[in-house]
């Protein structure tokens, strides 16, 4: 079995590090949504977890299972920008009180508070968060490269090799990532299906969280 190595929790950076003074930063606005782009490539995962994921995906593809990866690594800077722009827009925080994050030289405070609010609103729109009813969390396992979202589907019966080299005949339903046999095969590689079940269907990680 492969066990992924836990990286330091990236989220703490956003609340504890005041790296730059906002006065030196670049004004907030929609352009920030184009920076710190996330990945859907497994090469951007944490190294041990990446090996586990690649082996599991290879085994599924060899068995004729269709796998489509939608997200792997998300930079903590991106989570920071999404979180605080949402919070400013919805007036949970004043721009001047947003903690700084190392590597993100953003200036949340504009000449007037109306301008600051408008810039945050533009960022929310650029991050497509207009319909989102809560602030995106500052941290998830995606920030550590320890989670992957993928849709999985097949038809009929498939034979999938587990991490011990044993061939497992998967003939039960559902024929998706929620299949109990497939979850056990994934776990043998160190890739664990989200323990919350249907609450997050495409999510797999090093811990099941």
């Amino acid at each position: 079995m492969t066990t992924a190595t836990q990286k330091p929790r990236a989220a703490n950076l956003a609340t504890t590090v005041r790296a730059v003074d906002q006065d030196n930063g670049e004004l907030s606005g929609a352009k920030w949504a184009q920076r710190f782009i996330g990945s859907s490539n497994t090469k951007d995962l944490s190294s041990t977890f990446r090996k586990a994921v690649d082996a599991f995906i290879d085994a599924m593809i060899d068995a004729g299972i269709k796998v489509r990866v939608s997200a792997t690594y998300r930079p903590v800077q991106r989570s920071y920008l999404m979180h605080w722009s949402w919070k400013i827009k919805h007036k949970y925080v004043k721009p001047e009180y947003v903690p700084a994050l190392k590597g993100v030289d953003i200036k949340w405070t504009h000449a007037t508070s109306a301008d600051s609010l408008e810039a945050a609103r533009q960022m929310v729109r650029a991050f497509d968060m207009s319909d989102l009813s809560t602030a995106p969390a500052l941290h998830s396992l995606h920030n550590d490269g320890l989670a992957i979202d993928m849709s999985i589907a097949w038809s009929g019966t498939v034979v999938v090799k587990d991490a011990d080299g044993k061939l497992v005949e998967v003939k039960t339903a559902p024929r998706s990532g929620r299949n109990r046999q497939l979850k056990a095969i994934g776990a043998s590689y160190g890739v664990k299906k989200f323990i919350g079940g249907a609450k997050d269907q495409p999510h797999w990680s090093s811990t099941g969280r």
Binding site: R121, V124, D200
Partner: protein, 110 residues
């Protein structure tokens, strides 16, 4: 000797489990909603396929909205029970507290 130590450890663990008061059902429901809310809030990204973004948006309404209501209600209901309050506070995630009924039309260009 080793056998006795193992037995004693198991006995103590069992005693602790049995001694721990079960959480009231309403608090258990809150904890489940709050944990789902926090997880889903960490999944959002505008780069995701549209279908997945819609699922996340709906899941946030499904879990964060009740968790937000339950939080206020349970804090008041159990205000004289510090142990239960501690559990509630531990799960009072930012994603729960910042749940807001949004009106996307606010973001339309003027």
């Amino acid at each position: 000797m080793i056998r006795s130590a193992v037995f004693l450890t198991i006995l103590l663990a069992a005693e602790r489990i049995l001694a721990a008061p079960a959480l009231p059902r309403d608090v258990q429901a809150f904890v489940q909603n709050a944990e789902a809310c926090e997880h889903i809030a960490g999944e959002w990204d505008s780069d995701l396929p549209k279908a997945q973004r819609i699922e996340i948006t709906l899941a946030i309404k499904k879990y964060c909205a009740p968790a937000r209501y339950q939080l206020s209600h349970l804090m008041e209901k159990y205000k004289k029970n510090p142990l239960i309050l501690k559990t509630i506070s531990k799960h009072a995630y930012d994603s729960v507290k910042s749940y807001t009924e949004v009106d996307a039309s606010d973001d339309c260009d003027a």
